[in-house]
């Protein structure tokens, strides 16, 4: 079974948030703050939205490909 381009793209989109969140030291810091909220907190919250977008793209690709 040959691996298709859309399968690779979907896998990458699904994996990016894992890489981002598992690199804990890359975001474990206080500054820059956002309205008094330390980086550690707002960065992870922002990535909730970005993860949703990336997973949504992956789901769209898989749904279209199947």
């Amino acid at each position: 079974m040959a691996v298709r381009g859309w399968q690779v793209a979907a896998a990458v989109f699904l994996l990016i948030p894992f890489v981002v969140y598992l690199s804990v030291p890359s975001y474990n810091m206080v500054d820059p703050k956002f309205y008094g909220l330390p980086f550690f907190y707002w960065y992870q919250t922002l990535w909730l939205v970005l993860s949703g977008i990336l997973f949504g793209l992956a789901a769209w690709l898989i749904n279209r490909g199947e």
Binding site: L14, P17, M29, G36, L48, G52, F55, G56, I62
Partner: protein, 531 residues
């Protein structure tokens, strides 16, 4: 104590909620005598309902109580809930549509139905079923703790607060049990919509008021312990292992799988799960309530006086919102515990009926099966209620983490089973046993065989969530065991053709075989066939 207009709104909205619960029986009507109708909403949940129904598993007392209370008490570590809810949905996108397809083709109601056929092993199926039920109970208990904390704050100052709270909880549960009995998952789905609208509104209202009137995050962090601004480096292994382990575990819980199997079609299931991390933004806000509490002296004193972190969110609500607003927001948190409790009890009942009772009495009729599930779901709720009344609150939160350790041990059979038929049922059963026993042992050991206060174990790599450690052992035993069983030719093949995992068969005849009362509706088979 909550003002009288607040209490009036609370009661009125609760009546609306109950009405929705009963109305659910008529909602997209089906024959409620069938288990797939009562327990899976007729498998006709479209993308939006699914979003809310599975999202209901996101906004539970875990979010309102366990996490804010953890952030209040321990700071950044408990923000692990955020990466947890982001990543768990990637796992759902990959696994759940496949489980949905095989379930549709073969008429499965639970993940255990799948495991039993996939590995042709009744022992393994029984092990997975019992793990699901046992892990679900403390999760339901946690919901009750959440509802209890709402009532405690609402009735602060009333004489005999404890008795009044317990009576109110029992009344709420009797009502819940009756409407779950008549409406099944549909009633819960309608309640979930109401709950999520109110929760989102309340969270946003509180955040805005706190940012404008209470000095926002700057004041809050200035008054919180200095270490809360980020993660101490010793906590980094705890942090990632907690979110990674929890992300692996969520979609093994019967209630999460039950929600996914109620989907009307595979593609909307996949898309709805993919977008759920965005829904998690509200959870991140609620987690931050644990910090905001430090900037709101009146609320902080409620929590400190009672020495009960579970009161964090209700205490903030009652302090910063006007009486009527607090009434709405507190009701939101209250039904935020009630709806998931109903969904969890239904899922546990499906599992006990289909995979335990039916194994013992294979001749049970579909009607009898549904009756049994209804009664079991009521019983499960009251067992959980009794549990909360007899053990302490903090204990319930910790037992939920222990539940995570247990449910994670079903991962090889359920998730890996979706992708490979290589593993052997006997080896998986032994792996499961090793995972469960080592998990429980490590939990006991790390707590020095005393009161349960931690589910982290000190390893050479730092403190790690025991769910992951036990799962590692489990997996190792399953793989080595399978190799041994295959070499010694004791391996038994599963009975699911690979084709059944790939796409929905037109007409899916076998789906009708196991639920003869209600063949899956024409509308939903039509959707499935076009996919």
């Amino acid at each position: 104590m909550l003002s009288s207009d607040g209490i009036a709104l609370f009661v009125i909205l609760f009546i609306v909620f109950v009405f929705l619960g009963f109305y659910g029986a008529r909602f997209r009507r089906g024959d409620l005598r069938g288990l797939n109708e009562w327990g899976l909403g007729g498998q006709r949940m479209g993308p939006w309902l699914l979003w809310v129904l599975v999202g209901a598993d996101l906004y539970t007392a875990y979010t309102f109580v366990a996490i804010p209370s953890g952030v209040y008490g321990a700071g950044a570590l408990y923000f692990y809930a955020v990466p947890y809810v982001a990543l768990t949905f990637a796992i759902a996108v990959v696994t759940m549509p496949r489980l949905w397809v095989v379930s549709r083709n073969r008429g499965y109601i639970t993940a255990v139905d799948f495991v039993k056929d996939r590995f042709n092993s009744r022992n393994l199926a029984l092990a997975v079923a019992l793990t699901g039920v046992v892990a679900e109970l403390p999760y339901i208990a946690l919901q009750i703790v959440g509802m209890q904390s709402v009532l405690t704050v609402m009735l602060l100052g009333v004489a005999n607060v404890k008795t009044v709270t317990e009576v109110a909880l029992i009344v709420a549960f009797i009502i819940l049990a009756i409407f779950t009995f008549t409406s099944g998952l549909r009633g819960a789905a309608l309640g979930a919509i109401m709950k999520d609208v109110l929760i989102f509104g309340s969270v946003i209202a509180v955040i805005v008021v706190v940012l404008v009137n209470w000095g926002g995050f700057t004041t809050a962090f200035a008054n919180a312990p200095a270490s809360y601004a980020d993660l101490p480096s010793i906590s980094i292994p705890k942090f990632w292992s907690l979110f990674f382990g929890s992300a692996l575990a969520l979609y093994l819980y019967p209630h999460a799988i039950n929600g996914c199997l109620s989907a009307s079609d595979k593609k909307s299931l996949r898309l709805s799960q993919a977008l759920l991390p965005i829904y998690g933004v509200g959870l991140a806000m609620l987690a931050l309530f644990g910090i905001l509490l430090y900037g709101i002296p009146a609320a902080l004193s409620i929590v400190k006086t009672s020495a009960n972190g579970a009161l964090t969110v209700p205490a903030i609500i009652i302090t910063v919102l006007p009486g009527w607003g607090a009434g709405i927001a507190l009701l939101a948190v209250f039904i935020g515990g009630l709806v998931p409790a109903a969904i969890m009890a239904i899922a546990a009942a499906n599992l006990l009926t289909r995979n335990v009772v039916k194994e013992i009495y294979p001749k049970i009729t579909p009607h009898g099966e549904t009756q049994a599930a209804k009664w079991i779901s009521a019983a499960v709720k009251f067992v959980a209620l009794a549990f909360v009344f007899t053990v302490s609150t903090t204990y319930a939160v910790q037992l939920q983490l222990l539940g995570g350790v247990l449910i994670a041990q079903t991962l090889p059979a359920v998730f890996l089973g979706l992708y490979t038929r290589w593993l052997d049922g006997k080896a998986l059963t032994v792996g499961w046993a090793v995972g469960i026993i080592s998990g429980i042992y490590l939990v006991l050991d790390t707590n020095k065989f005393g009161i349960l206060i931690s589910s982290l174990f000190n390893t050479p790599f730092g403190y790690l969530y025991i769910a992951i450690l036990a799962l590692g052992l489990n997996f190792l035993v399953a793989v080595v065991g399978t190799a041994v069983v295959r070499i010694t030719r004791f391996h038994r093949e599963g009975i699911i053709p690979e084709e059944d995992l790939r796409r929905v068969r037109t007409g899916s005849p076998s789906a009708a075989v196991s639920t003869p009362i209600t063949p899956i509706s024409a509308a939903s088979t039509g959707e499935a066939a076009s996919d």
